[in-house]
Symmetry: C2
Subunit: 296 residues, 2 copies
């Protein structure tokens, strides 16, 4: 019996990221093309209330509601309730999860292209990312080594997961280029699982070049906490680029440049992500990290 | 006494168009630079509830609530109530309005650059648009000849108005290039008013080349009304470009091209505007129109 039995493709974890929702709807219409696979493909529109209202979330980011603590406590809002529903239908989170793989489809307003987010030090997930990168060389691997119990992302309820993040695209609309790139990433991910079950994974690099999250930086704010500046034009649209101490980073409404005051070279990501504005964050800082992918 | 006494600069008529809000806040901080003008500059954040929630509107698009009918009836929602408040503070709409000029700042997700929207056949508004275009040659004039009583836009409560629409920028974030282009348009508009009061308007073209709205087209939809396609990549980002019968226009999720089935050449605008998705509209069709600007 194949190792991977049940795969779940998820869209609309954030309700205004329409590309993932559209990919799920298109997959539902054309699901017969995966009829002969060694596993079953299911689909889920995750935050249905937020999808209906075309907003990221109603009360709390659904993609922060899947820690063990929130899944096992009394739900405090619609998203925590929805997370428990999803976990009870597709989990339960842990080694006995009914779902072997989750592919969760996201978009970003930033110029991050196709980013493959691996949240735990899970070899099959790293290998899937390496496989997709071998076919789409511009794809970037975004790596975090989270403790599974504390990992609060939706994908963490499956045994393995990959989050596919594609941009730039505004919230609330569809672009063919972004839709196609997301679908290409998704189809390669599903092909990888078929190859995995059939022991047909091609040779992948032993070591992956990834970006690891360091911290988010705030946009310029005035004494009342109001945003009073923005990303400097030298940095806008320049994701995954080096940022050195003294480089222009922000610009105030009045046109004054604010330089990066860190002590060493870092790399940019999520540069001007609309979803970050509720916390007045302007970008993420990353470091390069080489991660062992291991042999299959 | 100068003809133009009171000018109102408006941002946040749509709550998730942050650029206009930021321009208004920056103008408030630096209002002293307009101290010596022949008129007073006031500012207004229009849809304060929607700005707080970072959404276009709460119950109804505020920029559709300023017809005589809605201003004089019993308000049915928060936006109709807000429109009446604004009209009572800055109007009343009609020849006796306390506000001579409104400049209303908007953004769009589309690649329309700096668009100057004139909603009524008002010579000073056309002249202001011509003046800005003389300084920013890429600016486009978007013209409609509405009946003032039926004109439901916020600017219609002043004696004269111009709507400045700038893109592309996603909803819910700020970009320096878009902020600066909006501010440039605004400052030229305010300079125009000073020159108007002082009889110092430079020579402007007698005839303006404008685009006039024809209709909006729906995105491809399935039998349930769900969107099942998007703007064709040949049209995406190509605002104000000719669209001929038989040209690619949409593409279905499955990659099938749908061509324009009109009978004559038209021009594109608002190509893939996120705010249009609630009605499943994909773009606007326009025709070129030459409008007499008249001498000052």
């Amino acid at each position: 019996m194949a190792e991977i039995q049940r795969v779940l493709v998820v869209g609309g974890t954030h309700g205004n990221e329409k590309t993932g929702v559209q990919c799920v709807k298109a997959l539902n219409r054309n699901i017969s093309q995966f009829r002969d696979r060694s596993y079953t493909v299911g689909t889920l529109l995750a935050n249905t209330s937020a999808i209906e209202k075309n907003c990221r979330y109603i009360e709390q980011d659904l993609n922060r509601c899947f820690s063990n603590t929130l899944l096992n406590g009394e739900p405090q809002n619609v998203e925590q309730k929805r997370a428990q529903e999803i976990n009870s239908q597709y989990g339960p989170k842990g080694d006995d999860s009914a779902t072997d793989w989750i592919i969760d489809l996201h978009t970003t307003t930033t110029n991050m292209g196709l980013t493959l987010v691996v949240h735990q030090n899970d070899k099959p997930a790293l290998q899937m990312a390496a496989y997709i990168q071998s076919l789409i060389p511009d794809a970037v691997i975004f790596y975090e080594d989270r403790d599974p119990a504390e990992d609060n992302f939706l994908g963490s309820i499956a045994k393995h997961s990959l989050l596919i993040e594609v941009g730039p695209v505004p919230q609330g609309l569809l672009r063919w280029d972004i839709f196609k790139l997301t679908q290409d990433g998704l189809f390669h991910a599903l092909d990888f699982i078929e190859r995995y079950n059939n022991n047909e994974i091609p040779v992948l690099p032993e070591e992956l070049h990834t970006y690891e999250f360091i911290e988010k930086l705030h946009l310029p704010r005035d004494e009342t906490g109001d945003i009073c500046g923005m990303i400097h034009p030298d940095v806008q649209d320049n994701d995954y680029q080096p940022l050195n101490p003294g480089d222009p980073l922000f610009i105030t409404d009045e046109g004054e440049t604010i330089c990066y005051d860190g002590s060493e070279q870092v790399f940019t990501a999520f540069v001007n992500e609309a979803a970050y504005y509720d916390q007045a964050h302007g970008l993420s800082l990353m470091r390069k990290k080489i991660v062992s992918c291991g042999s299959v």
